[in-house]
């Protein structure tokens, strides 16, 4: 079930996504890579923080908090809806 490309910030909690690309300069992309985030990775949105806070993303068993401005620049593909 492909719902097209959306921004990570707009994804509901519990949704499985596939990271498709990063918007932004090389320094920013490198930083995401350092935390083990690459296009093609499968991830799960664990939760959102209150007051427009970060998104908590689970990638391969590791949880990473991504600030609002960063999550808005990560484009993802929704693969399926699941709440593990």
């Amino acid at each position: 079930m492909n719902k097209g490309i959306v921004r990570l910030i707009d994804i509901d909690k519990g949704t499985l996504v596939k990271i498709s690309s990063f918007e932004g300069g090389p320094r920013y992309v490198t930083r995401l890579n350092q935390f083990g985030l690459y296009p093609g990775d499968l991830a799960r949105v664990v939760r959102h923080a209150p007051f427009g806070g970060p998104v908590l993303l689970e990638v391969r068993g590791m949880e990473i908090a991504l600030g609002k401005s960063i999550a808005a620049r990560i484009l993802v593909e929704v693969t399926a809806c699941a709440s593990r």
């Binding site: 320094r27 920013y28 490198t30 930083r31 995401l32 890579n33 350092q34 935390f35 083990g36 690459y38 664990v46 939760r47 923080a49 209150p50 007051f51 427009g52 806070g53 970060p54 908590l56 391969r60 068993g61 590791m62 949880e63 990473i64 908090a65 991504l66 600030g67 609002k68 401005s69 960063i70």
Partner: protein, 569 residues
Amino acid sequence: MRFALIGQPNCGKSTLFNQVAGYKAETGNFSGTTVTFTESKVRLNGKVIQLVDLPGTFTLRGTNKAETEVMRFINSHEVDAIINVVDATHLTQSLELTLELLVVKRPLVIAMNMMDEASRLGLNIDGQALMSKLGVPVLPLVASRGHGVKALFLKTMESAQSAVSGRDPSLVNQDALQRHMLAGELAETIVSQGVRRVSWRDQLDNILLHPVLGFLSLVVILFIFFQIVYGLGKLIEAPLLAVFNALSRQTANLFGASSFWGELTVGIVQGVSGGIAIVLPYLIPFLFGLGVLEDIGYLPRIAFLMDGLMHRIGLHGKAIVPFILGYGCNVPAVMSTRILEERKDRIIASTLAVLVPCAARLSVVFGLVAFYLGPLWALGIYLFNMFVIALTGRVLTRLLPEDTPGLILEMPTYRIPTLKNVVNKTWFRVREFIVEAWPLLIIGSAVLAGLTYFKFSPAIDWMVRPVTWSLGLPTETGVPLIFGVLRKELSLLMLRQALGVNDFSSALAPSQMLTFTVFVVFYIPCLATLSALRRELGWRSMLAVSALTVVIAMAAGLFVRGLGYIVGL
């Protein structure tokens, strides 16, 4: 013989280092605590080994300072063997660095750390398979408990003494993306997912990171934290001060109370006791408590919760830590800004953190405002303070417009802190205060004592007169304000002497009490904090922050004076 410890941030590398070396490196459950590298001697079967703890690094590509340092070190110094600490629960990510290390032609041993955590997650790890794939020894490790440490070092010694075998070229010649894919494939072949035990972590997170329950828990946890820390502090402080007061009276008698040497020794004793009065009751309990919260893994969770709110004052979630600490003592607060990556963030966070009323300023707020005007006024001062901090944050963010990349933070699993780690960390931070700030405090105390002896008090009062005049305060408040730079609670103690009264209400009008207290809350941080600022940000920023606090204190003081005038206090 020299071994280098290398690993990604938060993999338990510093924990391992502390297990064998003790008292040398800081560890934290917060990415990137080790900024510079530390070296220590370790004894192993009668041989002495130099063990180097390198800064945590995700890759060796040299995209930041820490990575460049690590690269330079591995390539320039004599390193006999490299111990690569990997986090068994995050193998895909950890193995990327391992693949990069294979390129360096040095004996390499992999320490598979956090095996206990992995088995809790239901991960079965085939170390044997990894060993044969990579062609280097792989040993299991639980660094926090010291399991597998000895075997690891014996194996490393063995590897260091034997020749480096050739490495599989298909593993070595890779670019970043290929390495990432390869690490993923490797991890997939050696890790099999067993039954994930119903993770209490998820359940705990459901409460602690909940939009409503999370904040409630935060308030409760911080309340308990401050209760314990303050309680402990008060318990220690009173007898301590009694001892030092007796001591300074005795030394004064020894030389004659009003002789030059008498005044000077009293000044020195006050400087020494001032240091102890900060370190023992406040710094140690606070840093110990922070160490516990840090090692449990709660600090990143506070950062996660607060990120949205912190953005409104121009900072991101991680900067909440200096604020929390600030209410105890500004010194650890300023030191903790180190966890922020961007200099701009560090400047803003330190500036705002020194505006947070610490325990010493609390004594002024309570002794003057709460005592004479009532606790509601004290609460009002606290709320006014928060408002000013938020406003300052917004203004500073406007003035320093530089794009901060925002929060990227690994949410670690909860871990049970070990006493050894927390004690080491506390000592490491306290030592900084003792070496840096304490001598300054003693010298400053002695200089002020000298000034008092030579009857400089009227001169000081006169110098500060422009400030006291515009705030509508008596001339005599000048000296207490200057002494307050040494230690904030001195402002109140000296005020009694300066005004020559025991009951402040006979010398100060309510509006003057408020203005004085508000000014004390905001103006120049104490000497110990200044020295922490200098260490973290440098001289220029320290002076700039001090100047700014005076401006803010003046503005806030004038505002309160004006308000008092309008209300008719």
